[in-house]
Symmetry: C2
């Protein structure tokens, strides 16, 4: 863990180092991924099964790639009723927020008499990647599938690796709650390839979404263009802005809740209160003594964690805008001024009663959020990932007369004579009829 | 040019061939682009100038990379007043449409007492790529820069290659009108690399947008993640749905207006009227005799053009949904039913008085649109490319009590104990105070 202080002369260099410290750790996997994708594209199910059997120590054939409805039911029957109720609370709230997020079509007639507008339509099909193994999160299934359903996507295919044959009952229960019925036991770059290019068993989709490891991220990058993708997810991050009026244990747990995700996760506390900084640091050490995932959390906290003391909360907000964190908590008396000053963050958790974990499960907004400073230019998953716009223009004779000549003149200047003629023959025709 | 007929038994195979015929033509340029990007990243301005001097037969140094305000003014002075007026018509209309497109923030309190919402903020900086050489289009400058300005982007950097030193006065006039003052005489993958990674002369941007050749497209693909990008643009396409009541020459010119862009462009006429099909085919041949860009247009039309005769307009709309064309013209008596049935198209031009060229210049909606069937999952350039969402949640004690326990339960089920504890310590604290 690094201790930084904005009043110190070396702060700028230290802060730049903090922002860069996870960049160099990214594994280079583009070569292997290119090979996997090419194999899946060329040999379809055969390659898909080979990779799955090798990487997940499985024994699948094209006939058993799909997880059956009976398997889903059997798995769901293992989930305790109380947990299904919690899943229902989460699903209902996620559904409600994403419904509120749906945009409206636009249509208007402007002062030249031209009808203009844009119309939103859903994608026909979407592929959801759900990580397996240590990161098999049922909540991610809800967060990916529900916005697609709310958007009106007709077909949702889901791929989840089942290493050593292990099905995660709660993952399947989440898929069932979200209405996903087409589920395949495949993961990694091979799953992304199957969804993008299609195989005999898995029909291609129009867009692949969902978080994954370095291979999944690289595969998404490589299939981009053939299909759409969402943002490429990196390790999780949180910035907590805390004043002196906090329970240090609560703040420490917020930092550790990111750190326990991944050794590469990053948790940063920013505080104007040096006493709080010290207390939180001590509380982190105390919690690490008993936390079940202490090994992961300690690795993350030691390597990437930071406590930054600042002069005031404005300075804190300015640092946040440089970090552009995935998650931002405002654990302060008066969050509004900081909230207004922050421009770049994936999601903001406002006030002491809203730890980030609320947003991971039951808040309503999506927990798939831009990482690695990409909140500077991108947004979390939403209904916007599952719809697209068609713009339209309708001109009547009079409006064509008003705006057409400028188009002719510009087309001629660009040396595009067919463009110019396509307008001018219509203008000439209108003149003849007038 | 291919003639297809939906009533013929080989239609399905012919149509699939038509959709695939441009796929295999894409040049493989990923290797050279990787090298160019690595060089620009490692050696900055030196590499940028070397590539520019080699590819554009120029003689630039870091000191002369930027096009000066005096050069811009001198160039603009060469543009005829009538052309500047046409540019103004276009710019005003583009501005007006994109202002109408700006979404609103959202904030509400739900029935659990949780405040939820999302806020849109502009990107800090954007890089605009403007093609040079044969595709140096002033209209593209307006279409890229104006939405960024409307969105509120603080810094807009523009890169335009000037092969053999040739500045395009109307391109610079368009930049001036759109308020772009930071312009560099560089192009290709090296320009994309400079904007993404930054050099001593060109500060890095948050997102790179704008159409370009295969090198530019591949470079955008490779820098994705470091910066945001817009859709990767392929060669232009149009589908014209025409009934029997058209001037065949007007329809022919609409087809040729796409074909004259690029030998790889694709123009498709779909009509239920075999007589109109024949007349348009003849009119295309006639226009090609005199069209200045006939060589390009003929290559495109011969290799990729098609006339498809259909049973009725519903069938036409269904074909459009498979093609997902960049541009769709509805040159029919009653466009509404077809308009409603089409789900996948970048932009629709409704009615006989609105040829696609109107949308290229003065319609208002953006002319940077998804190509190569990507309208299935993506949209044209818009203000949405220059803003991003931050979601937020604010919970009060009572609402934390209502939704917190479900979060604790799900976090425990996912084995994320710090997540669970971060909520449960706050719930326990509320209980103590109660």
């Amino acid at each position: 863990m690094k201790r930084l202080d904005t009043t110190q002369p070396d702060f700028k260099a230290e802060f730049a180092g903090l922002l860069a410290d996870r960049d160099s750790d990214t594994a280079r996997v583009d070569g292997p991924v290119t090979e996997i994708l090419a194999a899946v594209r060329a040999r379809g199910d055969d390659a898909l099964c080979e990779f799955t059997n090798r990487f997940d120590r499985a024994n699948v054939t094209p006939a058993t790639l799909r997880i059956t409805a009976a398997e889903v039911e059997a798995a769901c029957a293992q989930v305790p009723a109380r947990l299904l109720e919690s899943l229902e609370v989460a699903a209902t709230r996620i559904e409600s927020f994403h419904k509120a997020q749906m945009p409206s079509d636009m249509r208007y007639v402007d002062d030249a008499g031209v009808t203009l507008g844009m119309r939103w339509t859903a994608l026909d099909s979407v592929g959801l990647y759900v990580p397996g193994g240590k990161a098999a999160y049922p909540s991610s299934v809800l967060m990916n599938a529900i916005p697609a359903h709310v958007a009106g996507v007709g077909r949702i295919a889901m791929c989840v690796p089942t290493p050593d044959g292990a099905l995660n009952p709660l993952v399947l229960a989440a898929a069932r709650r979200a209405g996903v019925t087409e589920i395949y036991r495949v993961g990694g770059a091979q799953a992304v390839g199957a969804m993008a290019y299609g195989t005999a068993t898995i029909a291609p989709v129009d867009r692949v979404v969902g978080p994954g490891n370095a291979y999944v991220a690289e595969a998404k990058r490589q299939v981009f263009g053939t299909v759409g993708i969402d943002s490429i997810a990196g390790p999780s991050e949180v910035v907590v802005i805390a004043d002196g009026n906090n329970d240090p244990r609560a703040i420490a747990l917020d930092l550790l809740a990111q750190a326990e995700h991944d050794p590469m996760a990053q948790s940063i506390l920013i505080t104007p209160d040096a006493g709080m900084a010290a207390k939180v640091e001590q509380a982190v050490a105390t919690e690490l003594e008993t936390l079940p995932r202490a090994e992961i959390a300690r690795t993350s906290w030691d390597a990437h964690g930071a406590i930054i003391t600042v002069r005031d909360l404005n300075e804190a907000a300015d640092l946040v805008n440089t970090i552009a964190p995935e998650h931002l908590e405002l654990m302060i008396d008066d969050p509004a001024p900081v909230f207004d000053r922050v421009r770049h963050a994936g999601a903001i958790f406002v006030g002491r009663h809203c730890p980030e974990a609320i947003g991971d499960y039951v808040g309503g907004p999506n927990h798939v959020l831009p990482t690695s400073r990409t909140a500077r230019f991108s947004s979390g998953l939403s209904v916007f990932d599952f719809i697209k716009r068609t713009t339209f223009i309708e001109a009547q004779p009079e409006s064509l007369r008003r705006i057409g000549p400028a188009a002719v003149s510009l087309a001629q200047a660009e040396g595009l004579d067919a463009h110019a003629l396509s307008v001018s023959v219509r203008l000439a025709d209108l003149d003849r009829r007038a």
